[in-house]
């Protein structure tokens, strides 16, 4: 054999390759660039903490989105879903009266449960009714948004519970609560994806659904789970967002789906599914934040921020295809 290597030698490590770490390299390069451009303000703790807080709302959603995209699916409805879950949570909380601590608990649980429910609805449309993910979630994106506007009668849904705002604006060990939630959920989903059976099945279904079916994997259930998890992460994000201002405006969180998908793509998860990285998504989300922050510090018009984001997405995808 000209291929002299053999598994018999017991090698089970891939040789190190820079190509496997393009996201990390990109992240470090961008960080360095931002440090130079934004010197010295960028590196100030206050600035970095604000940056992390800003990215954590969409970042948390992007974690679930990573799993959906790995499984070969897609979800456009997460922004509407966040507003809807947040609104319903505040409704639930208010129904227990002002400043009720039971109401506080119920509000939090409602946000999580309702998000999970809406995500599951998306998943069922895709798996049971066999609607293409793009179409199904385009539909629910519209439905969820419309319903929250209807319930709010086009005004703000304001919380009567002053304790609620502590969650969104609180700090633990110097870091905002949303940032903690972002990192903790990322760690949990990273382990879920790489170290559990279901995580492996999600990759298998996304890589080749037929092979997964022939391998006795419950394909429908496996495709449903990422939507349900995303619903949960949307619920978490909705809770954090609504508690920050202690109210929800029905137009809140519009465009979150694009930021979430951008974070996933920049993080190196291919849109074709089958593989991907939760940690990559965390880096991707933070990179989006760095770009915004850098442009602000450099005094670039905020109208150009979206253009910069677009360029980064395209460059990230180009780098992936070069592999």
């Amino acid at each position: 054999m000209s291929l002299k290597q053999s598994v018999l030698s017991g090698r089970d490590q891939k040789p190190f390759s820079w190509r496997d770490h393009t996201t990390l390299i990109g992240f470090l390069a961008l960080f360095l660039l931002a440090t130079l451009i934004g010197w010295p303000d960028f590196l100030r703790a206050r600035n970095l903490i604000t940056l992390l807080r800003q990215v954590s709302y969409t970042g948390i959603i992007a974690l679930g989105m990573t799993l959906i995209i790995i499984s070969g699916g897609f979800d456009l409805s997460v922004g509407s879903m966040a507003a809807f879950s947040g609104g319903v949570a505040i409704f639930a909380m208010n129904s227990f009266g002002a400043d009720s601590s039971l109401g506080l608990v119920m509000g939090v649980l409602t946000a999580l449960a309702f998000g999970t429910f809406l995500g599951t609805v998306n998943g069922l449309l895709v798996t049971q009714f066999r609607i293409a993910p793009f179409i199904a979630t385009l539909g629910t994106m519209s439905i969820y948004r419309s319903l929250v506007i209807y319930f709010a009668q086009a005004g703000n849904i304001e919380s009567l519970n002053r304790g609620y705002s502590v969650i969104g604006s609180g700090m633990i060990l110097g870091l905002p609560v949303p940032v903690w939630m972002f990192f903790i959920l990322a760690a949990v989903l990273h382990v879920f994806l790489n170290n559990t059976r279901t995580g492996r099945y999600i990759c298998a279904v996304g890589s080749n659904e037929q092979v997964a079916r022939y391998s006795a994997i419950n394909v429908n259930l496996t495709r449903l789970i990422p939507y349900t998890i995303t619903g949960f992460t949307v619920g978490v994000s909705a809770m954090l967002w609504s508690s920050r201002l202690n109210c929800i405006n029905p137009s809140d969180c519009a465009g979150y789906e694009l930021d979430a998908i951008a974070a996933v793509v920049i993080g190196g998860t291919p849109m074709t599914g089958g593989k991907g990285s939760v940690i990559g998504t965390v880096l991707g989300a933070i990179m989006l934040g760095i770009i915004n922050n850098m442009l602000v510090l450099a005094g670039v018009s905020s109208y150009l921020q979206q253009a910069a984001k677009g360029v980064v997405i395209i460059v990230a995808v180009l780098l992936q295809y070069k592999k």
Partner: protein, 501 residues
Amino acid sequence: MPGKPILEIQNLSKDFSGVTVLDKVSLSLREGEILGLIGENGAGKSTLIKIINGIHLPSGGKLLLEGNEITVKDPQNAKKLGIGMVPQEFNLVDSLRVFENIFLGSELKSGGFLDKGAMRQKSREHLDRLETRISVDARISALSVAEKQMVEVAKAIIHEAKVLVFDEPTTTLTQYEINILFDLMRRLRDQGVTLVFVSHKLKEVKALCDRVAVLRDGILVGVEEIDQVDEQKMARMMVGRELSLLFPPKRPPAIGPAVLEVRGLTVPGKLHGVGLTLKKGEILGLAGLVGAGRTELAEAVMGLRLPEKGSILLNGDEVEINNPRTAVEKRLGYISEDRQGRGIHLSFDVMANTTLMSLKRYAAPFLDKKAIREKTKEYSEAFHTRAPSLRAELQYLSGGNQQKVYLSKLMDINPEILILDEPTRGVDINAKSEIYQFIHQLAEKGLSLVVISSELEEIIGLCTRVYVLREGKVTGELTGEHINEEEIMFYATGVKVMEQV
């Protein structure tokens, strides 16, 4: 009758990221000959023909076409130079018509619009030249595998092909279709076209070719006139050593109890009241032409297709198998004929593939990666799987090694009954022999096996009992000396029919 050289390959080399897969190969193709190109998987056959067709660029050496040095940039360019290829996996668009496929990428135009009339006309002429009666307006999806291949041939010769490469063209064909193809190839040769026949089937090479070139480890080890070699010699040249017998000695007929019994199984349009029994420790063959319902039968047993009628009994008890999970729980395993489309994940590494079906055992609830590695290593050693590492993705392994990983994957669910559908398709002779040995060992250990194969040699060499299927029905059951090519073909083609009790 040695013709003048048409395509000269001089000192051609190719390496992929530092690994040499083709090492200074020099070979001269003559006008109007059929040259067999053989070698084990990974010997460099595919690389060589891909360079000739412009899919890969060579790292060194040159190509001369009729004495002039050429650079083949891409397959379209190759076609224009007169070098065509009939690929192993067809590149046809199912939803388009025959003539549209034939001219795909080389569309004829008049005044900026497609000239469908001319394309129909030319396609008709090419298909006539190949003496087939396929309609130029038929949709590809309506054609049989053999007809699709004819379309591929027609597509390859639209620019007056001088050299035409066939990459393992007979893998998915029945014997009847193979004969038609060979007639076609001989006719093209007599018209002065040079044909390259890449194959694993030495018998076919011997029957069809004028010369044979043998590659081993990227080196051309010899080019021989076909009457100077026999199958043994070709095999020795390929492997570089004496080959042990391809098939292990046959096992005595199984006399144990029936472990699997299928009664009156009906899948609309595919199977009509099929019945069979499988005994413990038996190697049972399922023969028949492509499309006879063999794969459908296996899939119905595995819960991958829901039968309309009929029953399945395991160890005498009727069972209901509605999905593959139940089948695996009942310790049934199925190796699909479509390795890359249904069997393994090309983007997964050796470990992830091997343990995918048995993953429950390694999850507590977190995956025990050490146990996964140990187990995978065990299988790799037992099967002599060659891979750069256990972390290598399957897309970088040869067909034979992919198949070994696929077998490992199924072995890891500890099946009692294993159905192997074309277990050696696209696998080189060395790996083939290893797989046969392995099937025997399993039977010896008491597993019951069903072997589905279009290669009669395989059925005859392995099985102690054979069912022949035709058009979704069991038409014959053969044992002992009745298991021979003639008998099987009689039942498979409907010359003989046996009434089932």
